[in-house]
Symmetry: C2
Subunit: 191 residues, 2 copies
């Protein structure tokens, strides 16, 4: 019984990792259960034994993307929140279409809890009103920012972007992100 | 010459409006130049006479979506910024996949200038450092928020959403949005 559960868990993990690898090759629009099954050399029905539908698979992929984010460790809420926010952004940008997958799972209530929970924990290190609501706000800023950056970098790599309004887009994005987190945390402290 | 330019402009507007209408019916993934041409009863080549590619058409659609946002009118920067931020959110949520289209055009540098410019104008009504950067931050929060809300509402209408972490999702979203704008503007004032 234990061995069986363990094996099932391993299968889910292997499928999730294969989905992340395929995602990197083909992108989210072309990531289908059929194609994933083909890559794994199994029938699509074998995947549905582990994941009820594609949305559930994508939620597992979202959780895997967020597995690497930092837990809050600093002694003050602001410093910890900055670190957690940056590690969430970095995780989203590490994987092709990572921001879109995590945004979608979060919106549908299927996953991405880890990111929100880490922000709540970081904000709660200092006395703050409504840390859950503030964490939602900060997470939505991080998602919006990462979606814009990821879409732009993808377009630039295909030569499909117009000149950016920012003088140096890649440097500019990092500056805008830090400005956003700083402004938000200043607002939390001053509220 | 003037009449010819006027006629071309009219054609662009008609095509953009037809694209918005088709968007409402089929959604962004199924909005193709071929399908739009079919709806208009013309050859796809006729569309490419007005728009170099689909991205340029979508930028015109994004500008049309944002045409209804408020210009800042209040006497204080904060009050004006709240109104502009809400009107941008409302515009994005009025059209199916509106947030995604505007996010994409903004990221690629093809459009959505009007939203950013209105936020800069509102923030600049009070003395503020780096209003352009702050406007980018606020716009990215609005985009992230609207993308989450729009994706969730769409999934709920198809019965494909899991229970939301928020007690009352629709009321919760409006509360989270106002909390975000308020926290951000407090941070701008206190910086």
């Amino acid at each position: 019984m234990v061995a069986e559960r363990h094996s099932t868990r391993n299968d889910r993990d292997s499928i999730t990792l294969a989905a992340l690898k395929l995602l990197d090759e083909v992108g989210l629009p072309d990531l289908s259960m059929r194609r994933l099954a083909h890559e794994l050399g199994v029938q699509p029905s074998a995947l549905y034994w582990h994941f009820a539908n594609k949305q559930e698979l994508l939620a597992a992929v979202a959780d895997r993307i967020l597995a690497r984010i930092d837990s809050p460790t600093s002694s003050t809420g602001s410093g910890a929140a900055v670190n957690v926010a940056r590690s969430i952004r970095d995780a989203l940008l590490t994987y092709r279409d990572g921001a879109e997958i995590v945004m979608s799972s979060y919106a549908l209530g299927f996953g991405a809890d880890r990111a929100h929970a880490a922000l709540v924990a970081a904000l709660s290190l200092s006395p703050v009103e409504n840390p859950a609501g503030r964490a939602s706000v900060l997470f939505q800023f991080i998602l919006g920012h990462a979606l814009v950056v990821q879409q732009r970098l993808h377009a630039e790599s295909h030569g499909a972007a117009a000149p950016s309004p920012e003088a140096d887009p890649s440097a500019g994005f990092a500056v805008t992100f830090d400005l956003g987190v700083h402004t938000f945390l200043t607002g939390v402290t001053a509220s």
